[in-house]
C-alpha cells in the first residue's frame, strides 16, 4: 500500500468526543436549560438538606400558632405575649396580676383565692410561647406566686397550616416525596418501557403485534381502577406509588421506543450487525437501546412532571401518601381549600411546584436541542 492511501486521522491530541459529550457541550451553552438545572439542584438541596437546618419537624403541631401568616419576625410577637399569658392563666384558673418581659425571660405574678399548687407551672410550659417556667417566690400562704421562665420564640418563615404545623418543614417534606416519586416512577417506566419497546419494535411481525395489543389493552384500563386494584392487592405503601405510576407511564415510553426502533431497524448498521452474526438480543442491547437514548432522555423530562402531578392526584383521592406525610400535590390541594383565609398555604408549595416544572421543561428542551441539533 502506498503512502498516499493512508489518510490522516483528525488531530490526535484532541480527545475523541462521543455524541454524548457533544450533547453535554451543547447543553452547557444553553442558558435557560442550565438555569433550569441549577434551579432543580437548589430545590432538591432545599428539600433534602433543609430539614437538617430547621428546628421544626414536619409533624410537630404548634397549637398556639394555628394558621399564622408567614413572617420574618419571630413568634410570639411582643404585643401578643400578654394576651397569650392571660389565656394561659385563665386555663390554670389563676388571676394574672402583673406580667413583664425582659429579653428572653418573663416574670408573671399570679394570684388565686386558694393556695396555688406549684405544679400549675405545667400549664405555662404547655403553651408554645413559654418554656422552663419556675416558681421564684411564694407569698400570702401560697395564694400569690411569682413565676419566671423563658419566652420560646419560633420562626415560621412560610407560616403554619390549619393544624399549626410549620409550612416550611412540610414543603421540604413534600419536595422530598414529590421528587422521589417523580424520579423513581420515571425510572421504573424507563426500564420497562425501553426494554419492552425495543424488543417489540425489533422483533416486528407477530411478536410486535401481540406486544403492542397488550399495551393497548392496558391503555384502555382506567388508571384509577388499576390503582385501586393494586392497592387492594398489595396494601397501601409508599413503594407501591412508584410501582403503580411507573406501571402506567411505561406504556408511552414503550411506544416511543418502539417507533424509534422501527426506524433504527432500517439503518445499515443494524444490517451490518446482522451480517456479522449477532443474535437478536445482542443487537437490541448493543445497537438498538443505545441509539434510542436521545429521545428517551428527553421523554423522561416530560414524564417526571407528569408523574408528580399523578401522585398529587392519587394523594387527593386518598390513595397516595398518607398524613402526616405529604407531597407538593397534597399541600396544594390543602392550600386551595383555604385560599381565602390563608393564601400562603397555596402560594408556597405552588411556587416550588411551578418552578420545578418550569425547570424540568427547560432542561427537557435543552436536552432535545443538545441531542438533536438538527431538529431545531
Amino acid at each position: 500500500m502506498t503512502d498516499a492511501v493512508v489518510s490522516p486521522v483528525p488531530e490526535s491530541e484532541v480527545k475523541g468526543r462521543s455524541l454524548f459529550q457533544l450533547a453535554v457541550m451543547r447543553f452547557r451553552r444553553n442558558r435557560p436549560a442550565m438555569a433550569g438545572s441549577v434551579m432543580l439542584v437548589l430545590i432538591a438541596c432545599f428539600s433534602f438538606f433543609g430539614p437538617f437546618f430547621i428546628s421544626h419537624s414536619y409533624d410537630q403541631v404548634f397549637s398556639s400558632y394555628v394558621t399564622i401568616p408567614p413572617s420574618l419576625e419571630p413568634r410570639p410577637g411582643e404585643d401578643t405575649l400578654e394576651e397569650a399569658m392571660k389565656g394561659v392563666a385563665a386555663r390554670a384558673r389563676v388571676e394574672l396580676q402583673s406580667f413583664s418581659v425582659e429579653g428572653e425571660t418573663f416574670t408573671a405574678v399570679v394570684t388565686a383565692e386558694n393556695p396555688i399548687d406549684p405544679r400549675t407551672t405545667r400549664y405555662f410550659d404547655r403553651a408554645n410561647e413559654f418554656d422552663k417556667t419556675e416558681v421564684l417566690s411564694t407569698e400570702d400562704e401560697g395564694r400569690k406566686l411569682t413565676l419566671s421562665g423563658v419566652v420560646d420564640r419560633e420562626y415560621f418563615l412560610f407560616g403554619t397550616d390549619t393544624n399549626g404545623r410549620d409550612l416550611m418543614a412540610r414543603v421540604m417534606l413534600g419536595g422530598q416525596i414529590s421528587i422521589a416519586v417523580g424520579l423513581l416512577a420515571s425510572l421504573v417506566s424507563l426500564g420497562i418501557g425501553v426494554v419492552y419497546g425495543a424488543i417489540s419494535g425489533y422483533m416486528g411481525g407477530r411478536v410486535d403485534n401481540v406486544m403492542m395489543r397488550f399495551v393497548e389493552i392496558l391503555y384502555s384500563l382506567p388508571f384509577v381502577f388499576l390503582v385501586v386494584v393494586l392497592v387492594v392487592f398489595f396494601g397501601r405503601s409508599f413503594v407501591l406509588i412508584f410501582i403503580v405510576i411507573g406501571a402506567v407511564e411505561w406504556l408511552d415510553m414503550a411506544r416511543i421506543v418502539r417507533g424509534q426502533t422501527l426506524s433504527l431497524k432500517r439503518r445499515e448498521f443494524i444490517g451490518a450487525a446482522e451480517a456479522l452474526g449477532l443474535t437478536d438480543w445482542q443487537i437490541i442491547r448493543r445497537h438498538v437501546i443505545p441509539n434510542t437514548i436521545g429521545p428517551v432522555v428527553i421523554f423522561v423530562t416530560v414524564i417526571v412532571p407528569k408523574v408528580i402531578l399523578l401522585e398529587s392526584f392519587l394523594s387527593f383521592l386518598g390513595l397516595g401518601v398518607q398524613a402526616p406525610l405529604t407531597s407538593w400535590g397534597s399541600l396544594i390541594a390543602e392550600g386551595a381549600n383555604n385560599i381565602q383565609s390563608a393564601p400562603w398555604l397555596l402560594v408556597f408549595p405552588a411556587i416550588f411546584f411551578v418552578v420545578t416544572l418550569f425547570s424540568l421543561n427547560f432542561v427537557g428542551d435543552g436536552l432535545r436541542d443538545a441531542f438533536d441539533p438538527k431538529d431545531r
Partner: protein, 538 residues
C-alpha cells in the same frame, strides 16, 4: 432579455466572497474569499470534492445558509448587491431571476401538495394572480420539462412520481419565472445514469431556449466535460483553478485539478483461473417481497425483486453486478448471504446452505461479509471505532481477551490505511472515505473468504473512490478474497471486476467477462447503460 448577447459583461459578479460558520469549536471558514463571474447564457461548472465549499458559495449568495452561517464580501446581480440584502428584497431576485435546483428530488418537494400547486405557488408569489390563472402556465412548464401526460400529472403528488420526474418538476419550478441564472446543485447525483443523461439533455435544451446561464455544482468531472463551457475548481474554500473546459481538461495547471482528473478509477483485474473452486453460489434465486394488502383487502400481493437469477462466485473472482435502482442487485447480494428470506439453492464452498436458518448460518457469517453503501449509516453512532470493528470478534471469537481484541483492531485499522489511534474515536469524526475504510475493516477483521460490496464507493468523492478501490483490490490480492461488487457506476465496476452481470427488473439481462461486456455489449439495455455514462475521457 432574449437578445442578451454573450457579452463579457458578467450577469453575476462575485468578489471576495467569504462564508464562515460558528461552531462550538470556533469559526470554520467554508469559503475563503473567492471571486467568479457568471456570464449570460453560459454554463459554468463549479467542481470540487465534498467540503470544498462549492455549495456553500451559492447558498451564501442566495441567503440560504444555515442559522450559524455568515457571509461577507460581494455578489452583484446586474449591479445589485445581494450580500446583506434583507430577505424581502432578496426574494425579488431569488426564485425569480436566480433559481436553484437541488440534489435530492425526493425531499425538495412538499409531499402534502400536488406538484401543480407547488409550481403555481412560485408563479403566484412572484407575479401575482391566482392559482387558477397560473394553471395554463404550469401545464406549459410541465410539457416543457418533458413530463408525460401533463394534464394528468399536474394533480399528482410527489410520491406518485419517479426520481427523474420529480427532478423535472423541480426544474419546472425553477423555470417558472424565466430566470437569468439557474443554479443546479448536484442535480443528477441521486439519479440513475440513464435518467441523468436525460435530465442533463433537458437542461441543455432549456438553456438554449431561454438563454439562461447555468451554474452547475458537481463533483462529477464526467458531466462537467460534456456539459460545461467554463470550469471553476474549488478546494477547501478557495479557487484552485478556473478556465475553459477544454483547457482545464487537456492542460490542467494545478496539481489538484490533475489529481481530480486522474482520479477516474483505472486499471483492470485479471480473471482467476477457470478451474478455481466455486466459493459462493446461488442457483435460481427468487426473492419475493410481500406487499401488505392492508386490513380490508383480502389478498396481499407480492413483488418479485429477484427473479430466477443464478450466480456463482469463484475463489479470487470479482463479479460486478450492474443495474439501475430497483433492478434487484442489492437484494440479490443479501439473498446470497442468506440475510433475507429467499428461494433457491445456495452453496458456500462445499456446504449446502439452502436450508440453514439464522442460528445455522451464524458460524459461517465470519467467512462471508457485507460492506454497505452508506458510510454514514452503516456505523453505529454511539460506539467507538474500536468497538465497531471488533464486534464480529465478540461474536465469533468470544474467547479473545480485551487486549487481544484491541491488538486485532490495531492490525485491521493499519490494514485499511487508518491510524490505529482512530479506534478510540467516534464515527462522526471521520470523513466519508475514512468511514468506508472503517466499514471495510469491520468486514476484514474476521478474515472472510467472500465479501459482498454493496455500492461501497457510491457515496464517496471521485478521488476517495479511487483510493477505496485501490484498497479493495489490494486486500483481494493479499488474501485471495472473492467479491460480489454491486454498483450502478460503470467506470468503477470496470476497474474492479473481471466478470459483469447486468440486471434489470430482477432478471439478468446480460453477463460475461468485463471486457467483452464493455467493448461489445449485446443487449440494448446494456448499450444504453454504457452510452449514458459520462466518462472523463473525451
Amino acid at each position: 432579455m432574449a437578445e442578451t448577447q454573450k457579452t463579457m459583461e458578467p450577469i453575476l459578479a462575485v468578489r471576495d466572497l467569504k462564508v464562515s460558520f460558528t461552531t462550538p469549536d470556533g469559526d470554520v471558514d467554508a469559503v475563503k474569499g473567492i471571486s467568479l463571474d457568471v456570464r449570460p447564457g453560459e454554463t459554468l461548472a463549479v467542481v470540487g470534492e465534498s467540503g470544498s465549499g462549492k455549495s456553500q458559495t451559492m447558498m451564501g449568495i442566495m441567503g440560504l445558509l444555515a442559522a450559524n452561517g455568515r457571509v461577507s464580501g460581494s455578489a452583484k446581480y446586474r449591479g445589485q448587491e445581494m450580500v446583506g440584502l434583507p430577505p424581502k428584497a432578496l426574494n425579488e431576485i431569488r426564485g425569480a431571476k436566480i433559481t436553484m435546483i437541488f440534489q435530492e428530488p425526493m425531499t425538495s418537494l412538499d409531499p402534502l401538495y400536488p406538484v401543480g400547486k407547488q409550481i403555481a405557488e412560485v408563479i403566484v408569489h412572484h407575479r401575482g394572480g391566482t392559482r387558477k390563472e397560473a394553471r395554463p402556465r404550469v401545464l406549459e412548464l410541465l410539457k416543457l420539462v418533458g413530463i408525460p401526460e401533463p394534464e394528468r400529472r399536474i394533480d399528482s403528488y410527489p410520491h406518485e412520481m419517479s426520481g427523474g420526474q420529480r427532478q423535472r418538476v423541480m426544474i419546472a419550478m425553477a423555470l417558472a419565472n424565466e430566470p437569468d441564472i439557474l443554479i443546479a446543485d448536484e442535480p443528477t447525483t441521486a439519479l440513475d445514469v440513464t435518467i441523468q443523461a436525460q435530465i442533463l439533455k433537458l437542461l441543455r435544451d432549456l438553456q438554449k431556449r431561454f438563454d439562461m446561464a447555468i451554474v452547475l455544482i458537481t463533483h462529477d468531472l464526467g458531466i462537467v466535460r460534456h456539459f460545461a463551457e467554463r470550469v471553476v475548481v474549488m478546494r477547501r474554500g478557495e479557487i484552485v483553478e478556473q478556465g475553459g473546459t477544454a483547457g482545464i481538461f487537456e492542460n490542467p495547471q494545478a496539481d489538484y485539478t490533475r489529481m481530480l482528473i486522474e482520479a477516474e478509477p483505472h486499471g483492470r483485474k485479471a480473471a482467476p483461473p477457470d478451474d478455481a473452486p466455486i466459493i459462493l453460489e446461488g442457483r435460481n434465486v427468487v426473492v419475493d417481497y410481500k406487499i401488505d394488502g392492508g386490513f380490508l383487502k383480502q389478498r396481499a400481493s407480492t413483488f418479485r425483486a429477484v427473479d430466477n437469477v443464478s450466480i456463482s462466485l469463484r475463489e479470487g473472482q470479482t463479479i460486478g453486478v450492474v443495474g439501475e435502482s430497483g433492478s434487484g442487485k442489492s437484494t440479490l447480494g443479501r439473498a446470497l448471504l442468506r440475510l433475507i428470506a429467499s428461494k433457491g439453492a445456495y452453496r458456500f464452498g462445499r456446504t449446502d446452505i439452502s436450508g440453514l436458518d439464522r442460528t445455522g448460518m451464524r458460524p459461517l457469517r465470519r467467512s462471508m461479509q457485507l460492506v454497505f453503501q452508506d458510510p454514514y449509516g452503516s456505523l453505529s453512532p454511539r460506539q467507538t471505532v474500536g468497538e465497531i470493528i471488533t464486534e464480529g470478534l465478540y461474536v465469533h471469537e468470544p474467547q479473545l481477551s480485551r487486549a487481544d481484541r484491541d491488538k486485532r483492531a490495531i492490525a485491521a485499522l493499519k490494514e485499511v490505511g487508518l491510524d490505529p489511534a482512530a479506534r478510540n474515536r467516534y464515527p462522526h469524526e471521520f470523513s466519508g472515505g475514512q468511514r468506508q475504510r472503517i466499514a471495510i475493516a469491520r468486514a476484514m477483521i474476521l478474515k472472510p473468504q467472500a465479501v459482498i460490496l454493496d455500492e461501497p464507493t457510491s457515496a464517496l468523492d471521485r478521488s476517495v473512490q479511487g483510493q477505496v478501490i485501490e484498497l479493495l483490490r489490494d486486500l483481494q490480492s493479499r488474501y485471495g478474497l472473492s467479491y460480489v461488487f454491486i454498483s450502478h457506476d460503470l467506470s468503477v465496476v470496470r476497474a474492479m471486476s473481471d466478470y459483469v452481470v447486468v440486471m434489470k427488473d430482477g432478471k439478468i439481462v446480460e453477463e460475461g467477462p468485463t471486457d467483452a461486456i464493455f467493448s461489445a455489449p449485446r443487449e440494448d439495455y446494456t448499450k444504453t447503460l454504457i452510452g449514458a455514462a459520462y466518462n472523463i475521457g473525451p
